[in-house]
Symmetry: C2
Subunit: 107 residues, 2 copies
DNA sequence: GCAAATACCTTGACAGGCGAAGTATCTGCA
DNA sequence: TGCAGATACTTCGCCTGTCAAGGTATTTGC
């Protein structure tokens, strides 16, 4: 991974929720998607990913259920809740504001 | 402070170095400058600020010296080193790249 | 038959941010 | 003179998020 994870820190929840806004998905798939989108420049470490899922579920922003694959490894799917959508919107807004602030401060 | 500090986390060093690129300064002043620039939307907590100074100095990115005020409280001034300038440039670059990545990931 | 990919989970360490509390000096004002 | 408030720096200990390392189980390809 070529990008300092510290700079993405704090966006983990936003990234996961953004993916779930496009539809239910499961951990491994979401992480591959992230690698695809960034052309391998970024990935979530598994431990980080699964801790985030637990955090988001405990907060009521996502729901999980086991997929009923009759083939392949078992998958735990996640679904964004209504509260999750609202939270996502507020995180997007926070990103936009912080982006402007950082821009001003680092030049 | 209205902005989630977690989003700025990881930029503390960059922000401090950016201010020192404009000339030597001391903690309290740098923090006031940050509040000015952001119109009060952001500030570094004192503990955060001074730990960052120590971290940066130990890494050789800044130097410190006591000011010789004969009035007012004593001030510890900081000066950016050559290594600090190079580090700052690399942090700026990292910011630009991470900004693009985040943009892609959160929509 | 076995390596590699898929898929998930847990533990413990570490780093950075920060609340809280403390020290010391100076300024303004009653 | 006395005292609040601003200036200025410092330390301690907690909290949170990241992640290395290790583990489990299944399926696919050779």
């Amino acid at each position: 991974m070529s990008i300092a994870a510290d700079l993405i820190r704090g966006h983990t929840d936003t990234i996961i929720l953004a993916q779930l806004m496009h539809g239910d998905s499961y951990g491994y798939s979401i992480n591959r998607k992230i690698q695809e989108i960034t052309q391998g420049q970024y990935e979530l470490k598994e431990a980080t990913l699964y801790t985030a899922f637990r955090r988001l579920e405990q907060s009521g922003f996502i729901l999980s259920y086991w997929g009923d694959e009759n083939t392949g490894a078992r998958r735990r799917y996640y679904s964004i809740t209504k509260a999750g959508r609202a939270y996502y919107a507020s995180l997007l807004d926070a990103w936009e504001r912080s982006e402007r602030i950082i821009e001003q401060l680092i030049r």
